[in-house]
């Protein structure tokens, strides 16, 4: 009986000539190349034209890119350890002219005597702390390489109280169990959200001095955040209030398309 699979029909097939083989392989490989190439181009177009994320604590980035930023943050946060200290330098290396980039939330004058740091507790109670009182807490100095998200860096010298010392002094340890700290300028025009491990990092300061002098207005008098494990954008000047939360507090630059974590 004859079947289509019989040996005879198979044997009747002539082997391909070299030229046929070349044509066939060219067709397959170039075809694949063009298909994959077009798919890649389409994928890029899709990503590039993808809609902006819905504005929440973060905004201004393409939806898939924001998702990627957040996933990448999670991946790198696993590596984060408070044992990793920022490199410090001798005092002589600190810049005399400390660079200043922005005044958002800290422009204009402020009466430092009347200023009070407001610490918003979970109970609704608000601590109001004067700068003199903060200066009585144990003092810490740090001379490190300040890094701006723009790409410049500068060794600068800051003095103040460790955020973790501040927490324990005001018996806020239970608040430090929450996941985030939010800081705001008195006029609420600038605000940052910081994950608790970074805030409690031993080199994070509530700073009131630069180069051993009281902070000038442009550097955030009377009290600013110096958080060496973050880019400059998180180093809020002229702190008005501090709050604690398990949700991400609003963050000025995260609303402009920047990574929320912005950790170094």
């Amino acid at each position: 009986m004859k079947t289509p699979f019989s040996k005879k029909t198979k044997a009747a097939k002539k082997p391909l000539t070299v030229d046929q083989k070349i044509t066939r392989r060219n067709f397959i490989s170039f075809g694949t190349f063009i298909v994959f190439g077009s798919a890649a181009y389409g994928g890029w177009k899709w990503l590039y034209n993808s809609p902006e994320e819905t504005a929440t604590v973060t905004a201004g980035a393409r939806k898939p890119l924001r998702r990627a930023l957040n996933k990448t943050e999670l991946a790198f946060r696993r590596l984060f350890s408070n044992n990793n200290l920022v490199k410090t330098y001798p005092k002589e290396m600190a810049a005399k002219n400390v660079r200043h980039n922005s005044d958002i939330g800290s422009g204009g004058k402020i009466d430092t005597a009347a200023w009070r740091l407001q610490v918003k507790k979970q109970s609704g109670e608000v601590l109001k702390i004067s700068i003199d009182e903060i200066k009585t807490l144990p003092r810490t100095d740090i001379i490190y390489d300040f890094k701006c998200v723009e790409g410049w860096d500068q060794i600068s010298h800051w003095g103040g109280v460790k955020f973790s010392d501040f927490i324990s002094h005001y018996k806020l340890d239970d608040h430090a169990q929450l996941e985030y700290v939010g800081l705001e300028t008195p006029d609420k025009n600038y605000y940052v959200g910081i994950d608790m491990p970074s805030a409690m990092h031993p080199q994070t300061l509530l700073a009131y001095e630069v180069n051993e002098q009281p902070l000038p207005l442009k550097h955030g008098a009377p009290l600013r955040l110096i958080i060496p494990v973050k880019y400059g954008i998180k180093n809020l000047k002229r702190i008005g209030s501090i709050s604690f939360s398990n949700n991400r507090p609003p963050d000025y630059w995260a609303e402009q398309g920047y990574d929320y974590y912005s950790g170094l």
Binding site: S29, L65, F76, F80, Q256
Partner: protein, 235 residues
């Protein structure tokens, strides 16, 4: 007679062509980032010869004021860049292809001869296997550069968590400069690479897509035709 000669394995073709758009995106998004602090220039004896980059260049490519966007793209595509690179390096190691790629002792001397040959100064090029001496050096260097970009990149991306990498690069400031210089290196590599590919012609280019080259081989006689020695003894 035409003969098909296998040249580039699929993994090498794949990683090569995947790398091309990824590296393009990395360089582009890198420029969006660099713009925010574009302080590098070529200065000799107080005279500035070139600013990275001139304003017309920025405007042409629509680079200004896109730092956040640049970072978002850069920190997504870095994963693909690294994964693709790891795939390539692993493949070359496991397949043994590295033997064709790593420079040998003689490669450094020979590369000079290859250069002279390519510039039409010298007639003969040194004998080679799959790649000539100059290619061995270039294709190994580009991988070293890729690793360099990842190391310097991590050094400026997470200088606290990867402080040892930052230290290795001579600090944060220097790491950023190296990261930039390596990118300039890619652009120079790309230019020479494309010129060489154009000069090498279609057969060579096709092999990077379809994997084979077509060569003309003289047909070999099937029966050995050694002249019998004892028939015509020479006296």
């Amino acid at each position: 007679m035409k003969v098909i000669k296998e040249k580039h394995p699929l993994v090498m073709r794949w990683t090569h062509w995947v790398n091309f758009p990824i590296l393009t995106i990395m360089i582009w998004s890198g420029m969006l980032i660099y713009w925010a602090n574009d302080e590098y220039k070529i200065t000799l004896f107080g005279h500035t010869y070139f600013m990275f980059f001139p304003q017309w260049f920025y405007d042409k490519l629509n680079i200004p004021h896109r730092l956040a966007e640049g970072m978002a793209f850069h920190f997504l595509f870095m994963w693909f860049f690294v994964l693709n690179g790891i795939l390539y390096v692993l493949y070359t190691i496991i397949s043994g292809e590295w033997r064709e790629l790593l420079p040998q002792k003689k490669s450094f001397k020979e590369a000079w001869l290859v250069l002279l040959h390519d510039l039409h100064i010298r007639k003969m090029a040194p004998p080679q296997n799959k790649y000539n001496a100059a290619q061995r050096i270039a294709y190994t260097a580009i991988i070293v550069m890729g690793i360099g970009s990842v190391i310097t990149g991590l050094a400026i991306y997470k200088p606290v968590q990867f402080y040892y990498l930052t230290w290795l690069c001579g600090g944060y400031h220097l790491a950023r400069i190296f990261h930039f210089v390596l990118t300039i290196g890619y652009v120079l590599f790309f230019i020479i690479h494309v010129v060489q590919v154009v000069l090498a012609g279609w057969n060579n280019f096709r092999s990077v897509i379809s994997g084979f080259e077509v060569i003309n081989e003289k047909p070999k006689p099937i029966v050995e035709t050694n002249t019998p020695k004892d028939e015509n003894p020479i006296q």
